[in-house]
């Protein structure tokens, strides 16, 4: 299939793997973080780790939108959805996220009207078809999905819809990366930058990572060869003693981002003073809410939302997994009490969650692809 198979070529993968192996300093261990859950998913789905030498380990980062939603917000959403006048819409990923009284799927089985949508715009269609109901879209995601929420709100305004609102849980990636860089329990050598987020925010926001923390960043695409090439570029920077922001995903990511999308976000949303992230705790200026000029589309103002902070189940170590401190299988409940079928933590829910990706795709004895090491002078 065009535009897909070219990026999954095993021959090219072997060639890149040989170059990567050649860049490893003997005796040195490398820890590279893929920030984005989409990358985590691709890495496991295609078995990319089979191409990497043992000295390189990939650390899964916090960029999984579902994984970082704290339980209190899920409970808030459940509370909103339980209103008999409300139809809640949500992306499929959210449906199995456990709140303290079960997931959206469980609520649906109890009769709550929760509908899965592929695009937030589908919520407007539902709003027009159900004028006597209030449609609340459970908005989640990083800067990747925030523009589509913003455009949906703008369209609802243009269409004069009065029965549509957004329960806004959009978060921003930079404060989370900074929290990880400042965290004392993790030593990372470099970052695979989140490709989809960067499509919107561009590459400049990562410059502080290279400048202040001296860590290389390569913004990476989502096909397996994209990821392998980005790992090569990171290793090359490390071998040459450079720390820069590079853009491997140039075919999609403009250096300055998508100004139209950024404007739409800025027009409809503003930063919250602080927001709770699952596992990472409260991070200041790390999430978005609806601007007061769009308050009639803001479910948090239109409805009473309990806003109670709910602690994660004691056994759950999602926080450590999200920060990359623990590998998924190192969590105490991984694969026994916590499985994709009966998840305790969010990382086991979303296909982008590190635990779900490892459980569904990587739970086996790995066999590395034999690679001829190709040494070139860095």
């Amino acid at each position: 299939m065009r535009f897909v198979d070219e990026f999954r070529d095993a021959e090219k993968a072997r060639a890149l793997a040989a170059k990567i192996a050649g860049l490893c300093e003997p005796g040195r261990q490398y820890k590279l973080m893929e920030v984005c859950g989409g990358h985590t998913h691709t890495i496991y789905k295609h078995g990319i780790e089979d191409y990497l030498p043992e000295s390189i380990s990939l650390v899964h980062g916090p960029g999984c939108p579902v994984c970082v939603i704290p339980m209190g917000r899920v409970d808030d959403a459940m509370h909103l959805a339980a209103d008999p006048d409300v139809i809640m819409t949500s992306f499929g990923d959210m449906m199995r996220v456990p709140g303290s009284t079960g997931s959206f799927f469980d609520a649906k089985a109890r009769g709550t009207d929760i509908r899965m949508v592929y695009s937030p715009l589908d919520s407007l269609k539902i709003a027009r078809q159900n004028p006597d109901k209030k449609i609340v879209f459970m908005a989640i995601g990083f800067e990747t999905t925030a523009p589509s929420t913003a455009m949906t709100v703008l369209r609802a305004q243009a269409q004069g819809l009065t029965n549509f609102s957004v329960f806004c849980n959009h978060v921003t990636i930079i404060p989370a990366i900074k929290a990880i860089l400042d965290s004392p329990d993790l030593r990372l050598d470099g970052f695979l930058g989140p490709g989809h987020v960067s499509t919107v925010i561009g590459c400049r926001p990562y410059e502080f990572i290279a400048r202040n923390y001296c860590k290389p960043v390569v913004v990476a695409g989502f096909e397996p060869l994209d990821i392998l090439q980005s790992i090569y570029l990171l290793m090359l920077q490390l071998a040459q003693g450079r720390a820069e922001v590079e853009n491997q995903y140039g075919r999609v990511v403009p250096w300055d981002g998508n100004l139209v999308a950024l404007r739409a976000i800025g027009q409809t949303m503003e930063l919250r003073p602080y927001f709770e992230w699952r596992g990472l705790g409260f991070i200041s200026h790390s999430a978005l809410k609806m601007r007061s000029s769009f308050e009639r589309f803001d479910a948090e103002r239109l409805f009473s939302v309990p806003g109670v902070r709910v602690a994660d189940p004691k056994a759950c170590q999602c926080g450590e997994v999200l920060k990359g401190v623990l590998k998924p299988w190192e969590c105490k409940v991984f694969g026994t009490a916590c499985t994709p079928e009966t998840p305790i933590g969010t990382c086991m829910v979303s296909p982008e969650g590190a635990c779900a990706a490892y459980y569904n795709y990587g739970r086996m004895n790995r066999q590395r692809v034999p690679v001829t090491i190709e040494r070139s002078r860095p």
């Binding site: 299939m1 999954r8 990319i48 191409y51 499929g92 469980d106 795709y361 739970r363």
Partner: protein, 359 residues
């Protein structure tokens, strides 16, 4: 202890946890219980098998194989709730006949007679019912079976969605035939009889909710002709399954679990139409889990693989048959996929339900 040893310990612990007796933890039925994946298996084993347990039911094959006064019969039943009722390539009526014929066929039986039960919603257009029934008549004629008894119920508007159909079927088994996924042995070849995922993707697109158009039609078809050709060419065939809900991935897992073997398949060898692959890529679903209604998975001894392929390919419905992998002795219970990219990953049972009501 090295990290690898520790990881292996965890993997062993998970393996033990997965062998535990299944238990339904939910208080209510969710859509996942009907998706053909892990939740369906749990429901069947923990609720139905637990209550009805007997040696004929226990293998959980597509049909029960019975002996009545020396005659060997296969008996099966299936209900159809597909939405929409009419879709490119077929109707709910085609599915109701072909699905039950196929459940008998993959048991190695010659399908003979079907029953048909209808649950109709008040207000359902009679013209639509006539269309459904005509397609059942034609499908039954094509499969050389007769619909010999039936039942009709009507429920109030809103208590059903137009038309649901249940069919049961009976067929005769020859003495020579003994098929079952538990018979798979290391070295056996695994074959699919054509491109996978056509039906599921067709239904999803036919609902018109996704604004995606693709030139795909359902593969619904009766497989009895294809099966009898294969079984006469390769009587030593170990197992056959039709890849409906849960797709080929589910069947591979059933083979691995029932026979206590490993399964290794190669992504590049699995036939998938470009349209189906494209739609699946866009929607983030894996064709391995998407239902077919006219494809079977066959397990045959390694030395019969080419004979089996020739037999399948000589039939119109098996022209694109392919060997997709083989049964292994290592990592019993696990299905592994060699990706086209050259890596390896697990193919587990489906979790959740990306595609409700496809059959």
């Amino acid at each position: 202890m090295t990290t690898l040893d520790r990881e292996q310990q965890v993997l062993d612990r998970i393996d033990r946890a997965r062998r535990r007796r299944p238990k339904v933890r939910e208080e209510r039925i969710t859509m996942s219980h009907g998706a053909g994946g892990k939740a369906t298996h749990t429901l069947i084993e923990a609720v139905f098998l637990d209550a009805f347990r007997n040696p004929l039911l226990a293998p959980l094959e597509d049909s029960a194989c019975l002996s009545v006064d020396g005659a060997r019969l296969a008996l099966t039943t299936d209900s159809y709730v597909v939405s929409p009722l009419f879709f490119p390539g077929g109707t709910i009526g085609d599915l109701a006949v072909n699905g039950t014929v196929n459940d008998l066929s993959v048991a190695g039986a010659t399908p003979l007679y079907l029953t048909a039960g209808f649950i109709l919603e008040e207000g359902f257009p009679v013209a639509d019912l006539l269309r459904v029934v005509a397609s059942m008549r034609d499908a039954a004629a094509a499969a050389s079976v007769q619909i010999v008894t039936g039942d009709t119920k009507v429920v109030q508007k809103g208590k059903a969605d137009g038309c649901y159909i249940n069919t049961a079927g009976v067929g005769v088994l020859s003495d020579a035939v003994s098929l079952g996924v538990a018979h798979a042995q290391p070295g056996d070849a695994i074959i699919v009889s054509g491109p996978i995922g056509d039906h599921g993707v067709t239904i999803m697109l036919a609902r018109g909710e996704l604004d995606i158009e693709a030139d795909v039609v359902s593969d619904t078809a009766a497989l009895n002709g294809l099966v009898s050709g294969l079984l006469s060419a390769v009587p030593s065939t170990r197992a056959l399954r039709d890849a409906t809900r849960g797709g080929v991935a589910t069947i591979l897992n059933e083979i691995a679990t029932a026979a206590g073997v490993g399964v290794l398949v190669s992504e590049s060898d699995i036939p998938v139409r470009p349209e189906v692959r494209g739609a699946s890529e866009l929607l983030g679903i894996d064709p391995m889990y998407v239902a077919c209604e006219g494809r079977l998975v066959a397990v045959v001894p390694a030395d019969c693989a080419s004979l089996a392929l020739t037999a399948l390919r000589s039939h119109r419905l098996g022209a694109e048959s392919a060997v997709i992998g083989h049964v292994t002795a290592d990592q019993p219970g696990l299905v592994q996929l060699r990706t086209a990219f050259g890596g390896t990953r697990i193919v587990d049972l489906l979790i959740g339900d990306p595609l409700p009501r496809i059959c």
